[in-house]
Symmetry: C2
Subunit: 471 residues, 2 copies
């Protein structure tokens, strides 16, 4: 059920005429330098794949269209590249080709304060956007751990800690501009909040991982900064108690803004990295948004539910600085934990299950990881039924990776049996292709293949991603 570990296919050399055309058009912004290619050929995944054959740094939509059209003319693959923070091998050049770097397309095009929408180029990162928005009293809630680009976040249907209340990229992208496989520019939606005007191309492109088009502009929803914000941590005697508290919070309908679980391993890592001095016990890290009265009311409800599960009294972070410190630590958890085993590589699982099955799924997954004896940690968007149990692997001990892949496959099989998914937010990329048939069924996979063939008939847009090779 796993994706292949290596990619032996040697890509054909780039046609000289293509390289000439790209260099004529882009000058030094078309690079074949090994260091540049390697930087664009490695992500956080465990795969070893030769780097792309060239990297082009596009600075406009017209340039993106030009690169795609040239690549299509010469039948060469194009791999969109944003911040390079994907976890599942999305940016790897498994069939060679051109890495199309859009990180320089990082202009905030429009902020429509009155409509709570913003239009950005795809290289804008979430931190950059929030920096610009805060002066308007607005914020953009989607926050994967890394400072990802919005184009990449749309492409992987990313979410993060605020999704429990504000939704994922699926709910927050209003419309896109996309360069199609024909090298043409397509608009997928308006700025209206809702629409029934034909097929939902926006949602089809969100989560398509660069395989159906290259995103060149996004219009996304933003939200007013809440009048009051409070963050609290609550420690529990067991993971089970913490998770069951989170489940109840969701089930009774508290509009909690963030509800994150950290296990003891994650706490030790963030304590070491960020000097937080947190108690080494399973912890929920929560945030409440609303009017002062509503925040107080929500917090009181959740405190009572936590007490029912033997949770400690809340510890509050009421100042913006204290809150920022806690959430920065949460966002660093992945990198903090990776640093606890120097030189390691990580395999992050990303299952998501219906909230009622979360405790069962998480407890079993932890028991399996403990029994296997591999180092791991757990952080989780538990309000969404989504968590990351991440194994930390010694790259010199291939048996560790085998074990981790086996445990990951077991965990995915259980998540699917519990009516969940193999990936809540990281995407399929290379790593989860082996799970797609089991999760979606042959008919859905056939429909996805048909859509891919319809919109990218030559199969040149980020080839080899999402869809497993036909049997």
């Amino acid at each position: 059920m796993n994706a292949p570990a290596t990619f032996d296919t040697v890509a054909a050399p780039l046609p000289a005429a293509l390289l000439d055309a790209l260099q004529a058009a882009f000058g030094t912004r078309c690079s074949t330098a090994l260091a540049v290619r390697q930087q664009h050929g490695r992500d956080e995944s465990v795969f070893d794949v030769p780097p792309p054959q060239a990297v082009v740094f596009a600075e406009s939509e017209a340039e993106v269209a030009q690169v795609v059209a040239l690549c299509v003319a010469y039948r060469v693959a194009v791999i969109p590249y944003g911040a390079g923070s994907s976890l599942e091998g999305h940016l790897l050049a498994v069939q060679g080709g051109i890495s199309l770097d859009v990180s320089r397309m990082n202009a905030i095009v429009r902020i429509d304060t009155e409509d709570l929408t913003v239009t950005v180029q795809p290289g804008v990162t979430r931190k950059q956007l929030n920096e610009a928005l805060k002066h308007e009293g607005l914020f953009f809630p989607i926050d994967p751990g890394a400072d990802a680009s919005l184009g990449g976040m749309a492409a992987t249907r990313a979410s993060g800690t605020n999704a429990v209340r504000y939704g994922t990229m699926r709910e927050n992208v209003l419309g896109l501009r996309v360069v199609t496989a024909a090298g043409e520019v397509m608009r997928t939606g308006s700025r209206a909040k809702k629409s029934s005007a034909g097929y939902d191309l926006t949602r089809l492109l969100v989560g398509s991982e660069g395989t159906l088009g290259v995103i060149t502009e996004l219009t996304v929803k933003v939200h007013p900064l809440p009048e009051a914000v409070s963050a609290a941590v609550c420690f529990f005697p067991s993971i089970d108690a913490a998770v069951r508290t989170a489940m109840t919070v969701i089930q009774v309908g508290v509009p909690i803004a963030r509800c994150e679980l950290l296990d003891v391993h994650a706490i030790r890592a963030v304590n070491a990295h960020d000097r937080l001095g947190l108690k080494e016990a399973p912890m929920l890290l929560m945030e409440f948004h609303g009017s002062p009265a509503s925040v107080e009311e929500q917090a009181a409800t959740v405190q009572a539910l936590a007490a029912d599960h033997d949770g400690d009294a809340f510890e509050w972070a009421t100042t913006p600085e204290a809150r920022t410190r806690l959430w920065a630590a949460r966002h660093h958890a992945y990198f903090s934990a990776v640093q606890t085993r120097p030189g390691c590589r990580a395999i992050a699982t990303d299952t998501c299950v219906p909230i009622s099955r979360l405790a069962e799924h998480l407890n079993a997954s932890i028991a399996e990881a403990d029994a296997a004896g591999l180092p791991y940690f757990v952080v989780g968007h538990v309000g969404d039924g989504n968590f990351h149990l991440t194994y930390l692997l010694d790259p010199d001990r291939p048996e560790e990776r085998d074990t981790a892949e086996r445990l990951s496959a077991q965990m995915v099989a259980r998540a699917i049996a519990l009516e969940g998914t193999c990936t809540g937010e990281h995407g399929v990329g290379l790593h989860k292709q082996g799970f797609l048939l089991e999760e979606m069924g042959a008919e859905a996979l056939a429909a996805m293949r048909a859509v891919k063939a319809a919109l990218d008939p030559l199969g040149l847009l980020n080839p080899g991603k999402i869809l497993p090779p036909a049997a």
Copy 2:
């Protein structure tokens, strides 16, 4: 820019072998009686189209698959039929064929109270579902005016009065089971709250108006009944004042649950139909959900904003009975208004614009309607930027329809110029095909055509809908 008024093409007769096969399999549940066919060949739209050539009443997913497979084998069109309440000609047999009635597939399959999800067959109506849910302390918020079927609501990406807070079918469908054009059953999603597992087939099917597959089961989100609910009406000296109040409510981020506008014509109609005795002035009809404290706080905020725009003091409907009466009147507004001009047919517009452009758009639309002198009324989901200005036409005076279509086209052109859409919730059907190119552009239309060809290569699933005939 308008759809054709008549359909002159005469469909080829049904192949006798197909009719034999359907009658052998379905007995009296396959009907060619004129009355049955006519009932399945007429909706609320203004089009005159010959009825379908036969109607099959399916009672299971397997039967739906059987009908589709037979129709595909004989190259005959299949038109899914739920409650027959669509407004844009969705169910009309413009190329002849079989009306596949799924209204008897009306079982509520599962209520997963702990996960706030429910799984239903496509013939379940919204009122039926809410009746079943209320015993669980839950509700399903999507409420088009008619008691539509959930399958049809998904197919048209419906919304209604609660969408301002709870979203549309786009946000509330978790997954579908669908019979494809190959006659196979496809699952499009799990019960996980979020997923990044490949292309978003769920969202592709939601809003596809029966042209990409026949929905046989839906899993949708439901919501806990709020602890407190209050409904209020507020009268304003002008439509402009009412709309500007609604705009401000959204812009400051009040989580209002419903925010509906009724103009004087609509008020007169519901007064006449439901004996409500409402003041004949532009009115916002609002509802607030939450804890008692939060409801009070929201209402106080909105009352203050209304007062800034010279709105009257709120009149409250605090008992469930009083609330039900008001909302029933709102849902009857369309039919109440149609009855004010006996024998008339209606053309309901459905534009949706960014909230900041709503007053400009609505004021101009009303001025145009007043100048034209046609009877009309306005109801609107103004919190979403969506309203229905509906013309009431004498069918014996074709010039009235010409005028209404001209005004509608003007209104759509303006909505698109204001970055909005021709349809917020009713769908394209036959009536809005002429607007799709202008709104979406040639590239998006080409992508939609490619998707349609990929998933329905023979073009037999509800043919002639959404996509305008190729030029």
